[in-house]
Point group: C2
Chain length 299, copies 2
């Protein structure tokens, strides 16, 4: 089955200790949609300006992504610029120019409204709500977020969490949301906000899923060299939901393997700037890393 | 087979945000020996002063620990005093009174010299060397260390690393030793220093083993409440080596399960002050957590 991905489509200028890369393809929807495309057909909703490079449209198309939901508006594409420190774990935003994103309202083409698997990639919770309002009967809705929305749109976010099947956030966001340092207690508190499944991402330390089948502790695929981690979290949820949409059987049974496929997909993202390494990945290469991860955790 | 544990035997006064506990039983050898005792007979070498409480000798004996190697000297027992911050991850030393430990030389009783499984728990690398010098033909030697020795006895430590089968350290120590932020590159660099197996401990994020069978990513047993993590690393290596000594078959095959048993044993350590919770554990309770961990990582 296909996956609907809604989020930001952006140009990212990224500085690391080793290199500087201007105007890469970025945004939560771009990363998530390409990641999901290795597993299932993807429909994407986003907005770009007239300055959006044609080669990036070609890239989406190369991954078979349905772009009927991509709005092309007068003005400039959302542009984010950031810098990573030596250890690649800390980053700071240098500038954010919203451009056409400032007035973005995610309108779903009619054909999108029947989608069964919905990924609300990181955008303002109000927009994530607007997407859900247009959906008919989604089977599985995943939402991802970022610290910004905890700071400036917490009420919207709390209402959103109630409406999704799985809520994904990173460890520092979980600490902030629940005011609790302990992962297990955090997970319990987030379940009380509504979602059946909660996934806390821990970067290089992997992730942890809490759901009806208990806890699942998932490894990250270890990399000897991280080039640019921007979008790794988006690739993770994209790969996860893409895999889930591609499988028969119940969600509960498939979710653990979906997380491992998300981890493997995200590892490619980290190996290049922007989407450079992700787009060079293949389903076979992802599967190979899943098998490696399987060996790395078995005892 | 039995396990030889050499390290510090101390009194720990520990302050956490919730409580203060003076003169608990502590020290790397105490934690490691009790942890190992759930799996195999343990011989312990250490030193205490005349002030060492009898109830702690009773505790060692309750765990069947052979104390022929425990020296009782004129003077005071090594006393460490430390304080944990709210998140329990950062601690600072308030005071260190070496007492009888200042002149400690680990003499092995003759019967100890034939031990096949040797745990060089955290003490000065020069003393760890002295132990190895007395051993006849150990089958498997594990050494653990701490940042202090990286700072003040690096040459001794580097010579020691060459002499052991498995070297265990935590992630920040690995970064310091190899001057590398990346775990995979760190592991490679440590292998080049000599040991066949390298284990990097990552606290609540588990641990990672590198050896001839590749990488093993091991989870920590998740706890909803951490009372006092002092000695968790020592309990981890103690449980690990105790389990290994208890199993037939080759080390390579058993080491992964040994690490999981170490994780499970260490989780009990964190649930009480000093050794309070560890001593209340049982082999059955540890096995139950191993089975839980098995479920938590399977996909």
């Amino acid at each position: 089955m296909s996956v609907l991905v809604v989020g930001s489509t952006a140009l990212d200028s990224i500085k690391t200790p080793k290199a500087e890369n201007p105007r890469l393809l970025g945004g939560s929807a771009s990363h998530a949609a390409v990641a999901a495309s290795f597993f299932a057909p993807v429909k994407m909703v986003g907005i770009v300006g007239k300055d959006f490079p044609k080669r990036y449209v070609t890239l989406y198309k190369k991954h078979g992504i349905d772009l009927k939901g991509l709005q092309i508006a007068e003005g400039k594409t959302f542009h984010w610029s950031g810098e990573y420190e030596v250890n690649m774990n800390n980053r700071r935003t240098l500038s954010t120019e919203l451009g056409v994103f400032e007035t973005f309202t995610p309108h779903l083409p009619d054909a999108y409204k029947e989608s069964k698997f919905v990924l609300l990639a990181n955008i303002a919770p109000a927009l994530q709500h607007h997407v859900l309002d247009q959906m008919r009967r989604p089977k599985f809705v995943v939402a991802n977020t970022m610290d910004l929305w905890l700071n400036i749109a917490l009420d919207d976010l709390l209402r959103l969490i109630k409406r999704v099947d799985a809520f994904v956030l990173n460890d520092s966001e979980a600490r902030q949301l629940t005011e609790d340092d302990n992962v297990l207690r955090s997970l319990k508190k987030i379940h009380k906000l509504g979602p059946k499944y909660v996934i806390i991402k821990k970067g290089e330390h992997g992730s942890i899923l809490s759901g009806p089948k208990g806890l699942f502790i998932a490894p990250a695929y270890p990399l000897a060299s991280v080039c640019d981690p921007t979008g790794a979290g988006d690739s993770f949820v994209g790969g996860l939901l893409g895999y889930l949409a591609s499988q028969k059987g119940d969600i509960d049974r498939n979710l653990r393997r979906a997380i491992i496929h998300g981890s493997a997909t995200a590892s490619f993202c980290c190996e290049g700037f922007g989407l450079n390494a992700t787009t060079r990945a293949t389903r076979q290469a992802i599967n190979a890393r899943v098998r490696e991860l399987e060996k790395m955790v078995s005892f």
